[in-house]
Symmetry: C2
């Protein structure tokens, strides 16, 4: 079964195609802005999900106070398009990056995160070359064991270092609590806050993160902002986390069934170079709306292997199906553009302008 819109998408663009429904996009933007507004924290959406200045502007127009980028190259693309107040939530290191960061700081308001003394020492030149201080927030680990200092004492030491480094100013703290780790984050933050106040410093940014954490926004006493990313599109992981419904999933991958060599299996024209091997810890690699019991079992680079053994609803060769991907952020990053629709109408394409900005 192919919906009329799917047939139209396939005819005009071919498959696989990433298709976003702008009604849902706008609804998601409004919903999350309202959550932040109600909680009394600013919204600083993470653009890693959509990588589009156009969508970032929609988020700003809806009330977001700024944006978050994970890579310097993403921030450059956003600044080129006129976005301002950018947090780069990542340790930037090396003279090539610091030079680019200085150039970016000279033309836009940018804040960076850091979790260690080597990175902080290196950042100094960015502020010096820009002729104004670079605001630095300290990344704190509160359970994910990714980046971030592990103790408040380390955070306080780094705050002291930032305050004493030419070209830098202490801006606050960046946290990314686990969904169940907000009390731990609160304790961490309280201790770090006490320490920096003794140094005569005051955080202006206390940032929390994550779309799965939307149910926790405002739960950290002292938080000034939240950095949700995935909510603009949502995906199977967000539904599994209980923070979105299938109707909130604004991006579908349209894919054609190109082979049905046996009754219980089929092949989609979307493989790991479209849907990615990132399972997000879920079983199967996406929900097929037309065949929810079909399982995308595994991938070759351009083949999606369909296991149809558990379903009598089986697609025919040539059917165009709609897939909710497991992890939408990495899927968007595979494509140069997405197709925008509103209901059953095609609007046009939107470049994924910051796609593939590895650095």
């Amino acid at each position: 079964m192919t919906t009329p819109l799917a047939a139209k998408i396939a005819r005009e663009y071919g498959t696989p195609a990433l298709v976003i429904d702008m009604d849902r996009v706008e609804r998601n933007i409004a919903r999350i802005q309202a959550i932040c507004d109600t909680a009394g924290v600013a919204n600083r959406p993470h653009i890693k999900t959509h990588k589009s200045p156009f969508l970032a502007q929609l988020q700003i127009q809806a009330g977001a106070q700024g944006i978050t980028c994970q890579k310097l190259g993403e921030a450059e693309v956003m600044a080129d398009a006129g976005l301002d107040n950018i947090l780069i939530s990542y340790n930037l290191i090396g003279e090539e990056k610091v030079a680019r960061l200085g150039a970016l700081l000279a033309r836009t308001n940018v804040t960076v995160a850091a979790d260690n003394a080597v990175v902080i020492a290196g950042l100094s030149n960015a502020g010096i070359s820009a002729g104004r201080p670079l605001p630095v927030v300290i990344e704190c680990d509160t359970g994910r064991k990714r980046a971030g200092v592990e103790t408040p004492a380390e955070a306080i030491d780094l705050a002291k270092q930032i305050a004493g480094t030419p070209g830098l100013s202490f801006a606050g703290f960046m946290l990314y609590p686990t969904e169940t780790g907000w009390q731990e984050a609160q304790r961490f933050y309280n201790d770090a806050l006490g320490g920096v106040r003794q140094l005569g410093l005051n955080p202006t940014i206390v940032s929390t993160g994550g779309s799965p954490n939307l149910k926790n926004v405002g739960n950290l006493d002292g938080a000034t902002e939240h950095r949700p990313g995935t909510y603009i599109y949502n995906d199977r992981m967000q539904v599994a986390a209980g923070v979105a419904t299938w109707d909130d999933c604004a991006l579908h991958v349209y894919s054609t069934v190109v082979s049905r060599a046996a009754p219980e299996r089929g092949i989609l024209d979307a493989g790991s170079k479209t849907l990615t091997a990132d399972s997000g810890g879920l079983d199967g690699y996406g929900l097929i709306l037309e065949h929810p019991e079909a399982r995308i079992a595994r991938f070759a680079e351009e083949h999606g292997f369909l296991d149809l053994s558990k379903t009598n609803s089986r697609p025919a060769i040539g059917d165009v199906v709609r897939i909710v991907p497991n992890h939408v952020c990495v899927v968007v990053n595979m494509a140069d553009e997405v197709v925008m629709v509103r209901g059953d109408e095609i609007i046009g394409t939107l470049p994924v302008a910051a796609r593939g900005k590895l650095r």
Copy 2:
């Protein structure tokens, strides 16, 4: 520890960067061409690995008779750059693709694979619109359960259909035997060959595939060509398969250690948006040449999680390390360009011209 070349790469381009050593690339090209020459089969390298017309031309200059593409969009990029004799090893379906295929056929020699009657019926218009027959090879499954007819009888039926369809000509068979499935492939091929000969048809292309199958090239009696892809760069999977050494790995991902929040862990600036979540079935996500016992344990989108618990050789923050990825084909597809070096000299960058051609 950072090598002088790694320091230079980081300074000029930043990290993460995909770096190819042209001495190794050329050696790999020559080695595999010699294997095909010795076996008496033509070499039709699969460009899905490098996605570069420049490298495809090197393969042709070394003796390859044509190229293989998995996507129509890849073939268009290659044809635009002057490549000819292109096999698209994939079921193409839908009027948008068939129209593009017709346009491609009108300007270059292109053959396509098909495994079912729906696809074959649709292809007709490509040959008709181009004004010359489109050669079609029948994809045969000999154990991988991907695309491909499962029995010689189905292959014979499809050959008959192709021969009777306006705009198409029967060109032969495409096989992709498993590493241990060559006897099975031989039986399949013999039966299919007998059947099509009874129809008065003769294959001109009998194509086998796979870099891991380089040890089997020539083992299929009747094969006319082989389609190796990964051999130009090689990767951890090829080494594990016993068809390449670490010195044959021509592409390294240069990545900076950006965080060392605890003694036994660290963070690389290459995450799933650089190295991809495709493990290739191996433990860990790449070999770090400087720290072979460090384990790239998991990813966030822009973070590689280093587990250093099993090694005393631990990188410092700011170290630039070289990583042999598990599956190089999907990693190349994440980048807009690769940096070319020869030994310790940087030559410049090479666009991954057919990157992200989803369709």
